[in-house]
Amino acid sequence: MTGREMGSSGEIWVIAEQRGGKVAEVSLELLGKGRKLSRELDLTLSSVLLGDGVERAADELVFHGAEKVYLFEEERLGYYQGDAYARLLTDIAREHGPEIILIGATEIGRELAPRVAARLGTGLTAHCIDLHIDEVDGTPRLVHMVPGWGGNLVMHVVCSEKRPQIVTVKPGILPKPERNEDNKGEIVRVKPRLRADDFSRMETVEVVEETAEGIPLEPAEIVVCAGWGMNALGDLSKAKELAGVIGGVVAGTRPATDRGWVGEDQMIGQSGRSVRPRLFISLGASGAMHYTTGFTGSQVILAVDKNPQAPIFQVADIGIVGDLGEVLPCLIEELKKTG
């Protein structure tokens, strides 16, 4: 896998996801990683964008590192359409033969990627946390790093023969590249040539936005996450007060979400959100792997729990062992005092 193979366009593709013309954060994160890989492998970093009235989104992809954008614009492609998107992407992949295709492991991406991969009969690795080039059995390969067993272990996966190799990457793990309006890229307009059978078996007829109950987690600088241990306090008021004092947003573990303290959109962990804030504060969560995998990228982690043996202290920078009922008011006072 050193650079361009026979019959290949010599490209890495990032399949961009957009909703209402706005590019998903994970697509930009993938451009950052794609840029790095494209340099190491001497490949061109291209992106593929489908939608309706998404020209500005195409520019955003260029500003974030895409050297080329294949742009499908069509009224009927405004919403994600399972059959149509899968066919168009499969056709253009067959035509250009990219080496690697990166897709965000979003709700849509996790459906679209396996559909395209199955059509192409190629390999697909799910929800990676990172990718790097490494020598495997004497050949440089793209190594897909996949968290397994609740995040306890990391598998290294390769796709040795089939091309393109397709990988989905978990949102919120890789850093977003800097936006630069001076970046130049080629916008390649592709005529979608839709067919009746693209919509005859299935069609998305509406996209309904549901406002999250809380503030979106991903852009937050500080996240305060409540675990089951907050039960002892009866409610989340102290966690909210703490977040208020330091300008953070409140999130929850799976048990806290199941208890109805926070919405699904505010749940941290393998089946929820991944965040990497400047400061992550874990309150009363023991530190199960499927939870900790959702914030491993945080710059600094503070954990409070009453059990000194809790695994959370193994993945935290700063640990306070103690009763939340005592520690939290004290922490709030201390932070108020020092501003």
Binding site: D83, E107, E111, R115, A126, N152, V154, M155, I318, G319
Partner: protein, 266 residues
């Protein structure tokens, strides 16, 4: 005339015991001895949705699983809550399959079983959690498919409409049968077996098939049929400071805040 409904089920290790999974430092293999096996939780939702479709429209529910001989227990559980027939794909030729090779084995079995109007899968498993086998199977069968389904409405003889989850919202998708739906936990509340339904298990059909039985080419299933393969497993290491604050509550908190400031976190 009713619906022919298929439910794909996987037997998985109980996630409550995941922290007991260790790497054998000598062999580099995953040690998972003694971890109890359960039906993948979302596959119970898939089964429930299949049983509801049968109740609503009439039909027959087949539960299928690929796995070792003990995966038969998962299928028996499916029969105990109301599935009509169980199919176990069991062969060493299936071992080491990635998601494409798994979907291929299921595809071969479906081809042998005949045509299905509706196929339900759990949206993802708790062990590998790829959410890939359902969509891949639908592509091999060349039928419509939706993942992340949280609500199913039967709108006509051959049509249905689903709500499919998105980040901060949902999509309404109209589908024509045959279709494959991957369901989430919000779809329904899975039922429990009754004394009556458990009694009925004995009279139900349970099939075990090998790769040869379903005409699955050996180069397309199991490890051989897998385009991807794991080349290493590593324990995820935390590069964290792991500083535990000492003293009274006030002292611990004061020290923690001082450290957070030194680290530039606040």
């Amino acid at each position: 005339m009713g619906l022919d409904i298929l439910v794909c089920i996987k037997q998985v290790p109980d996630p409550d015991h995941f922290s007991e999974v260790r790497l054998d430092a000598r062999t580099g293999r995953i040690v998972r001895e003694g971890i109890p096996a359960i039906i993948n939780p979302l596959d119970r939702n898939a089964l429930e949705e299949a049983l509801r479709a049968k109740a609503k429209v009439s039909g027959k529910v087949t539960a299928i699983s690929m796995g070792p001989p003990q995966a038969r227990k998962a299928l028996e559980e499916a029969l105990a809550v109301g599935a009509d027939r169980g199919v176990l794909l069991c062969d060493t030729a299936f071992a080491g399959a990635d998601t494409l090779a798994t979907a291929t084995a299921l595809f071969c079995a479906v081809r042998k079983l005949g045509r299905f109007d509706l196929i339900f899968c759990g949206n993802e498993t708790v062990d590998s959690g790829t959410a890939q086998v359902g969509p891949q199977l639908s592509e091999l069968l060349d039928i419509a498919q939706v993942s992340g389904v949280r609500e199913v409405s039967y709108t006509g003889d051959n049509t249905l409409e689903v709500k499919r989850v998105l980040e901060h919202g949902y999509m309404r998708v109209r589908l024509k049968l045959p279709a494959l739906l991957c369901v989430t936990k919000d779809t329904n509340q899975p039922r429990l077996p009754t004394v009556q339904s458990i009694m009925e298990v004995a009279g139900k059909e349970m099939i075990t098939w090998t790769a040869t039985d379903i005409g699955a080419p050996r180069e397309h299933v199991g490890l051989k049929g897998s385009p991807t393969c794991a080349v290493g497993v590593y324990e995820s290491k935390s590069g964290r400071r792991r500083e535990i604050m000492q003293g009274s509550t006030e002292e611990k908190v004061r020290r923690a805040v001082t450290r957070l400031r030194e680290l530039g976190a606040i």
